[in-house]
Symmetry: D2
């Protein structure tokens, strides 16, 4: 029997970079959590302890901060591309560089109704995410897989949701529901179809992100839902239809149950008015929605 090294990668996780950009009296914040990972020829450090091919994670961290100074006010996807290019260009034994980013959003504080130029309130109602995986191609070039996404986005609708017609078996106790609260916490990622680093580096990711999230939310609001699965599919479909360069959408939607409270012991009727918000267990609905001719996902999708 022999023991071998399999898949492996390493890097510095959760570099908390805050980049301030000043335009005369008006300041801008870019607030990121940046994680870097390298794959490549790292057998030696695992097998013999030689670190001759290891760029320390501390150096990766320094690079992230230095690049934040050099390249101000970038979209997270573009900042990830910049870092991946640098690492592949300077570390010839690295075959794949990955950068994951979380962007925390800040709103300007309103003073007498007007946005203040240099004071901010954190907007935690949604975290913007991005991921870049850059590989070397057969011809010595580089190709990139880029996804954008959201996390921590909690949405709820009080009408237009039912759940009926499901399988009944020996263990079924759930009644059918023709009017229920539907609530979920969206984790979504969507892939951009180009793998060309030059093309991606010029893409307007800010505009794409805004359009994608607006469409996702509007579809959730307006779609009459027969199941959370159906709503998920409609949300993904609407996002791709509007922006076909988004070739694939992947969502993980916990069904945050709101149970109608039985008030009949107290002589009260509960006409879908009072609910208890449950923590656990929760349904978990996960699916990918694809453009039929979507290019391969490479390593950008964390498979299950």
């Amino acid at each position: 029997m022999k023991i071998e090294l399999g898949e492996n990668r390493y890097g510095k996780a959760e570099n908390r970079v805050v980049r301030i950009t000043r335009e005369q009296g008006t300041h801008h914040i870019l607030d990121l959590n940046v994680s870097v990972q390298f794959s490549g020829d790292f057998a030696d450090t695992h097998l013999t302890g030689s670190n001759a091919k290891v760029l320390p994670t501390d150096t990766q961290k320094n690079t992230v901060f230095a690049f934040a100074q050099k390249y101000p006010a970038m979209e997270p996807e573009a900042f990830g591309l910049k870092l991946c290019e640098h690492f592949l260009d300077t570390q010839t034994h690295v075959t794949r560089a990955e950068v994951r980013l979380e962007q925390y959003l800040w709103d300007r504080i309103l003073v007498d109704g007007k946005p203040h130029p240099r004071a901010f309130q954190k907007n935690t109602s949604l975290t913007r995410t991005a991921r870049v995986v850059m590989d070397r191609t057969a011809n010595g070039g580089k190709e990139a897989f880029v996804s954008s996404g959201v996390e921590d986005l909690v949405i709820l609708k009080t009408s237009d949701s039912e759940f009926t017609g499901f399988i009944k078996d020996h263990y079924t106790t759930l009644p059918e529901a023709t009017d229920r609260i539907m609530a979920t916490q969206v984790t979504a990622k969507w892939r951009h179809d180009s793998h060309d680093v030059a093309v991606l580096s010029k893409k307007d990711f800010a505009k794409s992100f805004t359009k994608a999230t607006e469409k996702m939310l509007a579809t959730f609001a307006e779609h009459y839902s027969l199941s959370l699965q159906q709503t998920l599919f409609e949300m993904g479909k609407a996002m791709i239809t509007e922006q076909p360069d988004i070739c694939s959408v992947r969502m993980s939607l916990p069904n945050k149950h709101h149970f109608l409270v039985d008030l009949s012991p107290f002589g009260q009727e509960n006409k879908s008015e009072v609910f208890i918000a449950a923590d656990r267990p929760y349904g978990l609905i996960e699916a990918v929605v694809n453009r039929d001719d979507a290019p391969d996902a490479g390593f950008i999708w964390p498979a299950w």
Copy 2:
């Protein structure tokens, strides 16, 4: 030596009530986390195990949900008052009822720029809190202490903050800073000066809350800060000055440090542009700001 029972209380914590109110096609959400606590003549259950005077926490929970149906769309302070009154009225051996509430806010989802009547996005950028403590008075009546507040509110300013002129001793390494990022996560509570249940029950807590938080944020934004302590005092002072029925403000402000990253090893200058957001340790600034004639706080303030 004798062993005695000291201070004690009990109740049901974290009842997650969601109350939907329907006005024709438009729905409203009241999303609360309600915790109840009783103090009173509870020596027996501690000393002998007799529960003859114990209203179970399960019954407290049922009451919270039943009242949410009976009294729709209340401000959290008013809902707390209603519950406290009920408990003191029906449980004669309870001498003090306390209700703590967290209200989670929901924005309407925008569809083509217009707020949807029945679909919502959770706004987690600020949690509204309220607390009601109701006691029996000497003459057999009831008096209430009510506070309102915020939690989870993260704010930051990129200018108009310095920290200089402090004590230097053997263990000092901190340089003076004439231009720094100031950031904090606000936990604030403010007391309403009336203790009259009837008066409090008619108060417009929604309007008061909006004015208080707007003034707090505007003061943070506009005040030139020589220390976080000074900013705290100015915020509290402005809140009381504008609404003198707020007789006292209590704040706990962690100083969320953003350290300037030293880029000189890489030949780069960092002109207050790139910061690392630190998790721990953090400064912690806590103070109460009072109207000079504020009535006694009773048991509404959790003392240190």
Copy 3:
């Protein structure tokens, strides 16, 4: 109307100190989370922004680390006393110094059944806590209030617990239970009766802590419980009876509900075998148990 500064304090929170002590081949870890707070003459920094009396929280942090080197292997209570003394001795305008400590425990890794001298596994089943509040006395001296405690200690018993004979009212649905699971997560603090800094500095806090927690756990295990309140009182009473220099015990015990699952729809009987562990809501039982002649608590107890 005048606006005044009320209670206030400031300090550096959550200094994560790890102190290694080497005895030839055997190493020891002291792993602490240390928070410092000063009260005193700090009106100026709040009212005018003058920091002339402010020892920065950064300097407090440096002091904590420097003292960890100077005074190795101390019990957390003793380390807190040492820090408080230093701060009161050197900062004459500070009237009260407080230090809160959490100690994370580490077990030695077993290799072939034998404890390794330099490799450890974190024991998170219980966090040891300590708190020191040191005040100036009228005669220019110092007095200290010291408490010890535990957090994150989850305990459960599968027998000898019932809950019956409670009040029934309009909102009651809970059945009486003569055999139930009782589970809680203990947060406990206990005060030491001496306020003499010299006496306290020589106390064997390690031994006291071990005896207190062992007695607490054994009482929980052995006591036949008619209510969680009764169990709380018995635990505190047993701790004080065994070590009368512990003059007061304060506990906060969430009732971590385990609900019997109704399996009758599936034709199965559930003889107290299958439970669902609920997250929220939970009962919350809080009380102080005192030696009848316990000295005043000063500011060591966080009042409600």
Copy 4:
């Protein structure tokens, strides 16, 4: 352009089952968090909203609790196998059933040094995990992929760890370290090599788990480490060598940095005695260690 449904699955997550088994006066706890997921022919619910093929997640939950009563005191791997078999046997359109389990451990409370038969303290120093993925085979049978694992296991060594000889580039500031603290929080999973449901159902997973974790910990303690990568490989290699039916080990090891504090400004020398435990950023080392003839992993490994 057509929009298609891609990979998808659904189920009930985080069913918190506590199963008590009574042997005369001695009780045993099995405390599990069970998550179920189905893959299969679920296009309809996504595309048309028809739930005719959907077994509700509520029914999955009921099944988990009912099975906990029927099959007491199982190892988590065996309980997962039992559930997967049931679901594939009764839901013909389900092609893959997955069950993930977390087992929370409980120690008996000691009373006068003796373990109490019915009172317990939660041991959170390590969470045991298991995962079962069951697929249908070409010939109409079933095959299972089973992994075991640990989470929340924090380990640290104070000697025998260095990090030298690494790449230096423009962004390097890290000095070489010949004596450092090495600490990590282990998330590990290991695969069992048989895919035969009958064979797996008879395996002694308890014994295998104990041996695997003991070997992992002993190797961490005893191995002289030139990098965390090397230590990871040695841990996996030792586990497989001892129990070759463990054909593959996958680990994710955050490098929990402990930085030596510079005490020289205070005239103190820090001879590897005082460290600050940092939260973020952290190095993250991930790798798989395989027996060279390990069978395919199927869908048991969450790929990156």
